[in-house]
Amino acid sequence: MATVLELRNLTKKFAGDVTAVNNISMSIEGGEFVTLLGPSGCGKTTMLRMIGGFEYPDAGSVVLDGVDITDTPPYERPVNMMFQDYALFPHMTVESNIGYGLRISGIESRQVQHEVGEMLELIDLPGMQNRLPSELSNGQRQRVALARALIRKPKILLLDEPMSALDAKLRQSMQIELLSLHKKIGITFLMVTHDQTEAMVMSDRITVIRDGAIEQIGTPTELYDHPVTPYVADFLGQSNMIPAIVQRNTADRLIATVGCNELDVTDATVVGAIDNNVTLCIRPERIRLLESSSEVDTSLEVITGVMEQVLYSGSSLHFTILLDNNLTINVHYPLNTVLNSSLIAGIGDTVRCGVASATICIFSS
């Protein structure tokens, strides 16, 4: 698949010496659904706006389908944006809003009406031509904003935090709708969000942005299972970040010491060069509670601690376990997992947990 967008050394500074985007380079293939993920202020929105033409970079270039569009004004770029607050024109009907871009380019009215009608069918709002934005629900407004951007068949559709104004239930259904729309139309989608669940559910690839720079790019699975920095590990899903000391023992196994626990982490994923002090990154759902001291599962490494808290959150159970070095780790059990109720120790009881060393990531401290 051909590269449709290339960002080359993109840099943007704002007044007061704030570098919002710091020398970012990346490329996007045609038809992909890519997400820029990061906390507020990390520069992802600025990047999006530079691609859309609402900000101009201080250095670097934006290349679309081989054409340098860095300095092209937004109305000359074959790129369209769905704004965070939808930005529907309040004084125009749904039909005029969606058809606006077509009419501007001089397409005659009857053709515009026809295409708007088709687009309304596509977004499942048939017959709403003459409504005003103020008469629509939030979800409907979002779809109109989407239609208005898509009708011009842009090379890339930019989405600026598209779900932020929706409530949780609506958010889920919109995610699915957006995904199916993407498959149906086949245009490249570039989305900006701070919601990592959303990013993982919807994207072909995710770019994690931190302080104006790319932390990692990859598929959701790659980012989740093989984070290259503790930041990514912590940002996507939950992680237990456990300080430990590692050493090779006489049998050339790598042993990590956590308090009074010793774990054989030879099969763990080691990221970068490490010395003795490391951080172990273990996902809460990879830790299992073990039967009493008698059970020994040789495939699992054992961590012993004291049960501190048990939380029930509807579809899953969360345990907080206190280790002897005053560290707590979280364990997560979706409720359809087979869980022997005898394993759920009372608060204050000693509990043993097991984790497969292959699921552990080791970062340098």
Partner: protein, 289 residues
Amino acid sequence: MKHSTRTIRDFWLLFTGPAIWWSLVLLVPYVIMLMISFYTRKFPFHVPDFQFGNYLKLVEDPQYFLVIFRSLKIAFLVGVTAFVISYPLAYCLARKIKSNRVRLLLYVATIIPLWVSYLLRAYTWKTILGSEGILNSFLMWTGIIQEPSTFFLYNQFAMVITMAYIFTPFMVMPVYASLEKIPPSLIEASKDLGAGRIKTFLKITLPLSMPGVLAGFTFTFCLSAGDFISPALVGGPYSNMVANVVATQFGIAMNWPLGSALGMVLLFIVLAVITLSDRLERAGRINLA
């Protein structure tokens, strides 16, 4: 005491005084003026009566009709002139100035002339436009004209300029308010969809600022239509407006019934314009949320 009774008691405690005042100084005088408009003129004053003669005179006698028409025409011209002058200023203030402090300062600077002696501000145009005035002496000094021109003063042109000058701040305020309410994302969306700066202005910004323009124009129109200072100061012989005629009828001419009738006509015209403007605004009302 029950809460509802207490509420009623509190209300009348608060409102009795004002209610009496407002009835006496607003309601009653308007009613009286209405009554007098039906009286008959009888030298030297007038007698109570109920006849439409005064109103008929206004319609039949061309000089009165002309005055009314002239007032409306001037008021309209003033509104348009004030609009042309104020819109760029309001637009700059609302959308181009980034610093909050500078914007507030300039906004206040625009509003201040509004409250600086109307009389004196009209007077300054008399000094500027007169044949011995500043504009003429400037033009002669620079050699553009040889003799002082009487073109500038004592005519409708001078009136329109003077009143537009007085009322420009009245226009800037509501236009600024409505321009400020437009979310920047709407402008960006329009550009995103392919409209350049001018098209975006014509299709998005201008229509959305119309409520403010309408409010400003209405206000300016109504106040100009009933003005008598500018016509008297800079207007000249053929520029009598409604208010001047009313003043004469209540003054030298001692024809209160006719003056009241003319006053009522002015009142109705202004009320009609305000109501029309209200309806227009409500019809085009859009939720900018």
